[in-house]
């Protein structure tokens, strides 16, 4: 009797877990449009540090985790400054090449004299 019921119970448990996961995902708007998705990401980011703190307190590891250093580097700013530097170097390149060539020729002339 128990041997017959057990597979059914197992299947029912699995289906309920999978169904619950699907429901949570649908309900929290994770599968909606991009506005809902970015809102969900914002909520998750806001919820992570307090959750980590609570878990740390629970396990008694409060003092051991070093605080995240505040990273002032912005990838967007880095990329933009890189682009600006590249374009300005490219625009100055002919002038500089001309200068260096003239200097080189002058040097050679002085050597030959």
């Amino acid at each position: 009797m128990a041997a017959k019921i057990l597979p059914v119970v197992k299947l029912a448990t699995k289906v309920s877990i999978a169904g619950g996961a699907l429901y949570v995902v649908y309900d929290s708007g994770l599968l909606g449009n991009s506005v809902q998705g970015s809102e969900a990401l914002g909520k998750a980011k806001a919820a992570v540090p307090p959750a980590i703190e609570e878990w740390m307190k629970y396990f008694g590891l409060q003092a051991q985790l070093p605080t995240m250093p505040k990273i002032e580097f912005s990838p967007v700013q880095g990329w933009n400054s890189g682009v600006r530097w590249t374009i300005s170097s490219l625009s100055e390149a002919p002038t500089k090449a001309n200068e260096y060539t003239n200097q080189g020729l002058q040097y050679i002339k002085d050597l030959v004299k």
Binding site: K14, I17, V25, N33, S34, G37, S38, L41
Partner: protein, 76 residues
């Protein structure tokens, strides 16, 4: 579309992409462990589906500026 608006749309696209791929991966892992004996293919299917949904959303969002909305159509 102004530069600022375009920038915001791209930000939304990337955030949404991260969410959808993560969700797809998570659901894929759940289904793989529960029903498919820990094979890899549900995980790949889930992440791929998430990526596809994010791509479609992004495409829709970027095109929406140039599409005539229903309310505008009625006015015209």
């Amino acid at each position: 579309m102004s530069e600022k608006e375009l920038g915001k749309k791209w930000d939304r696209c990337l955030a949404d992409g991260a969410i959808k791929i993560g969700t797809g991966l998570g659901l894929g892992i759940v289904f793989s462990v529960l029903f498919f004996k820990r094979h890899t293919w549900p995980i790949s299917l889930g992440s791929g589906a998430g990526l596809g949904m994010a791509y479609a959303n992004c495409q829709n969002d970027l095109r929406s500026h140039y599409m005539l909305q229903r309310s505008e159509k009625e006015q015209v």
